[in-house]
């Protein structure tokens, strides 16, 4: 393969971002990127999306501090024990 076209770049873009493209394909991908502003824009877009999704996943996985959890549980227990469920 001497060159790739945009459709082939799109297929390889995720691998490229992850550094999973072999040296020979890397040259083809970067050669294409150097001259194709549409594919540069596409790459920026999926890179941004990956960062946003990654950040959202980090937030989901985050745990509150232990004292916060204990405080909330204590308040919940007191409420349940004091007045019962309404």
């Amino acid at each position: 393969m001497d060159e790739i076209i945009c459709r082939q770049f799109v297929e390889m873009a995720s691998d490229y971002l992850e550094g999973a493209v072999g040296e020979e394909d890397l040259e083809l991908v970067e050669e294409h990127l150097a001259m194709c502003d549409w594919c540069r824009g596409y790459l920026d877009q999926i890179e941004t999306t990956a960062h946003v999704v990654g950040a959202a996943a980090d937030v989901q996985d985050a745990q509150p501090p232990a004292e916060t959890v204990e405080g909330l549980l204590g308040a919940f227990r007191a409420r349940m024990g004091g007045g019962g469920a309404r």
Partner: protein
């Protein structure tokens, strides 16, 4: 080995986004940069160009670079374990890039003219040949009525002109090379790329 490297404005790698250490104002070389273990830098190696590779990689800034260690050659680049910037090639600036883009559009026009002549469309060929600037070429192509055999070449010449008008030298060069291929085959594309390399080498007074 002395080679060349195109960087974005400010000495930033166009793909790695690595901020290259620049030479000092006093003329000293920039610090050595090793590809490994830095995972940010070009992933596996320091990448650079020979003069013949330049048309594929045009960016804002061109730097002379010293490569160290075992140098390996790709199709349109060379790679080494480490490198350092020696000096900026000041002759490569926006004006030079525009002149190169315009020259590439003109070459694409000439290939399209050849296609028109071969297709027997001599009046269209004459009209296209008279387009002296990318703007004239673009406007001429918009109103051209080429025969089917030359339609793609003429459209590509218009594309080269449009990209030259937008200052996209690397894309104008790409289209000119592909226009040559469309008209005269793969060897013509190689010849077109060789012409582009020679243009750049001469304009920038680079040693091959």
């Amino acid at each position: 080995m002395i080679a060349y490297k195109f960087l974005c404005a400010g000495g930033v790698g166009p793909f790695s986004r690595y901020h290259w250490p620049l030479p000092s104002d006093g003329g000293g070389a920039g610090a050595w940069v090793a590809a490994a273990p830095d995972p940010v830098l070009c992933r596996r190696a320091v990448h650079a160009c020979r003069v013949g590779d330049l048309p594929w990689w045009l960016q804002d800034e061109l730097w002379e670079l010293e490569l160290d260690g075992a140098v390996t050659a790709g199709r349109h680049k060379v790679m080494a374990p480490r490198g350092r910037l020696l000096r900026r090639v000041a002759a490569w600036d926006a004006d030079c890039a525009q002149r190169f883009a315009d020259a590439c559009a003109e070459r694409a026009r000439d290939h399209a003219v050849a296609a028109l002549e071969r297709a027997g469309a001599s009046s269209e060929a004459t009209r296209l040949r008279r387009a002296a600037t990318p703007r004239e070429l673009f406007d001429t192509v918009r109103t051209a009525e080429p025969p089917e055999a030359a339609r793609v070449a003429v459209t590509m010449a218009g594309g080269a002109a449009r990209r030259a008008l937008g200052g996209a030298a690397v894309t104008a060069a790409y289209i000119a090379a592909h226009t040559a291929a469309n008209v005269d085959g793969a060897e013509a594309m190689d010849a077109e790329r060789a012409w582009q390399s020679q243009w750049l080498g001469t304009a920038l007074a680079l040693s091959a």
